[in-house]
């Protein structure tokens, strides 16, 4: 280069050295003796790739921020309305039937067992569902009074038809050495309430699980008495409204009975043996359906008439994992289901967070755009 400017001469030397360094790195890459030049390699990344890398990093940071905001906001709203998602237990008096609370419950699958028609029931017997509030009439009846909200189907507004299957689960910790006494108390509560102990499992004379069947009208009293046994670690009550199913089955039974009567009268009037035989077949088929429907109605009545209470009883210093309800049915399917639910919760948190962030980002972008535009115009004007 024909220049007298020393700065340019020096810069040429610097650039030549930089080129030589990079050529050496390229040669070492080609010969496969790679490591030790990570910095140089990253420097040689095409600008476009670095550009996209920056955008991707920004996007990830944005989504993480959105997820955090979504999680915090969801958590906050749950704290305000139902049992906290982070809380290990559902305290007495908290709504227990809502899905998020059920997920955080120490009784996994308990609320989920009620596949349909589940409504939240607070432990004082109030059952809640969107726009509808049921108030169980204390211990006095298994037909809870019903205050129907607007828009409720006419059939459900008849209080005497309401059928609710109630289930309770309670985890109690008693003082060391009191297990046997407490076990006897549980049995006494079941019997004195007019019910019985359906199943009983004890481990090591200090932990046990009992399933009680209690007449529905004694359910709340029994739960209260069970709570008095020791320190309540967890407590959940759910109610499954089977009114609609009960009405359906009753109507179906009536139709089947009418049909059978009609078929029998036709059979009486029949003149040919072929016709008589065909009608007999139909009557038999109808009879079978009648019996099946009656069986289902009986089952529903039993379920409504008797509530189930599952009691986990444990001495204070007994190993927790032995009675831990979470280990009841460990399975891969459960793990996958929980993982999937967790994934969906993260996605929903991100979406909620984006709901907060996107409008703010849009406003910020608009302000930035206006400021830039004004600056450019001012510069151009001056």
């Amino acid at each position: 280069m024909n220049t007298e400017i020393r700065f340019l001469q020096q810069l040429e030397t610097d650039l030549t050295e930089a080129a030589a360094r990079e050529a050496a790195v390229l040669r070492s890459d080609d010969s496969g003796s790679g490591s030790g030049f990570d910095d140089d390699r990253s420097r040689r990344l095409p600008r476009r790739e670095r550009h996209w890398g920056g955008i991707a990093a920004g996007l990830v940071a944005f989504l993480v921020l959105a997820g955090s905001i979504g999680f915090l906001s969801q958590n906050g709203s749950q704290d305000a309305s139902t049992a906290s998602a982070g809380s290990p237990f559902i305290a007495p008096g908290d709504a227990a039937g809502e899905a998020p609370a059920a997920q955080s419950s120490p009784f996994p699958g308990f609320a989920n067992d009620q596949a349909q028609g589940v409504r939240g029931v607070t432990s004082d017997g109030t059952l809640t569902s969107g726009g509808v509030s049921y108030q169980a009439a204390g211990a006095g009846t298994d037909q809870p009074a019903l205050n129907a909200g607007p828009g409720l189907p006419a059939a459900q507004s008849q209080g005497d038809l309401s059928k609710i299957v109630r289930d309770g689960r309670i985890s109690i910790v008693v003082s060391d050495g009191d297990f046997e006494t407490s076990q006897a108390t549980v049995t006494r509560i079941a019997v004195s309430s007019g019910g019985f102990v359906l199943t009983s499992t004890t481990q090591g004379q200090n932990t046990g699980t009992f399933t009680l069947r209690i007449p529905a009208k004694k359910f709340d009293v029994a739960m209260e008495r069970l709570r008095a046994i020791g320190e309540v670690k967890a407590d959940a009550v759910t109610g499954q409204d089977v009114t609609a199913e009960f009405i359906d089955q009753t109507a179906r039974l009536q139709i089947l009975l009418d049909r059978r009567d009609l078929l029998q009268s036709l059979q009486n009037d029949a003149t040919t043996s072929q016709e008589i035989l065909r009608l007999a077949g139909l009557i038999e088929q109808t009879q079978l359906e009648i019996e099946r429907t009656q069986g289902q109605l009986r089952y529903l009545k039993d379920q409504v008439a008797e509530a189930t209470i599952k009691v986990d009883l444990r001495e204070q210093h007994a190993p927790e994992e032995e009675t831990g309800p979470t280990t009841d049915n460990p399975s891969l399917a459960d793990a996958i289901r929980l993982g999937w639910e967790g994934f969906l919760r993260v996605i929903s948190a991100v979406i909620v967070g984006l709901g907060y962030l996107v409008p703010i980002a849009a406003i910020g972008l608009a302000i930035w755009g206006i400021v830039t535009l004004v600056r450019r115009r001012r510069r151009a004007a001056s």
Binding site: R6, F7, L8, L11, L15, R379
Partner: protein
């Protein structure tokens, strides 16, 4: 024997053979320095922008593809971008030089006059006289002696009673301020056609 390849060919070849880039530098370094000097009026700034532009071009040469844009026009594109940043922020950063491991170097004293010689002050002398009024007295006096009266730095230094290095610095800072101010007012500092 000089390399017969075109600028575009050299730039493309430098993607796999980095040393080819040096030839490209030899061909265009002084022109680019002149380009910057005439726009910034300041030798220090012009030298720094030149170094930064070539460093950026070297670091980014993998992104250059021959789509009909001449290799040197691509480098001048980077130069315009760097110049725009200088006018916006009033300073030159050294990010590209750092990226490829080139140190920041001081402008040697003797280069000030050589680079100023590349600047044609004649067309902007009038505008300069007005702009001088906005400078500090030290810078204004140094600038008047050097640019308007066209004195050498030893004489400027003796008139001002300061060292030569100090005189160069005052003129350099003054020129930079004037260039930024003229740019803000939308004045074209040069009428030459860009490469």
């Amino acid at each position: 024997m000089p390399d017969q390849r075109t600028d575009t060919e050299l730039l493309l070849a430098s993607r796999d053979d980095p040393e080819m880039f040096t030839e490209l530098y030899r061909r265009h370094a002084e022109d680019l320095l002149r380009y910057f000097a005439r726009r910034t009026l300041d030798p220090e700034t012009a030298a720094e922008l030149t170094a930064e532009t070539f460093a950026e071009a070297f670091a980014s040469r993998q992104t250059y593809t021959d789509k009909g844009v001449n290799g040197v026009a691509w480098i001048y594109g980077i130069a315009r971008h760097r110049l725009g940043r200088f006018f916006r922020h009033g300073r030159v950063d050294a990010s590209a030089r750092r990226r490829i491991g080139i140190p920041e170097r001081e402008l040697p004293p003797e280069d000030y006059e050589r680079i100023e010689d590349l600047i044609d002050f004649a067309p902007i002398r009038e505008a300069l006289s007005e702009a001088l009024e906005t400078l500090s007295p030290d810078q204004r006096d140094a600038m008047k002696l050097r640019v308007i009266d066209e004195m050498g730095y030893p004489e400027v230094a003796s008139r001002l009673g300061c060292s030569e290095a100090n005189a160069r610095q005052r003129v350099s800072r003054g020129l930079r301020k004037v260039a930024l101010m003229l740019q803000e007012r939308g004045m074209q500092l040069t009428t030459e056609v860009e490469a």
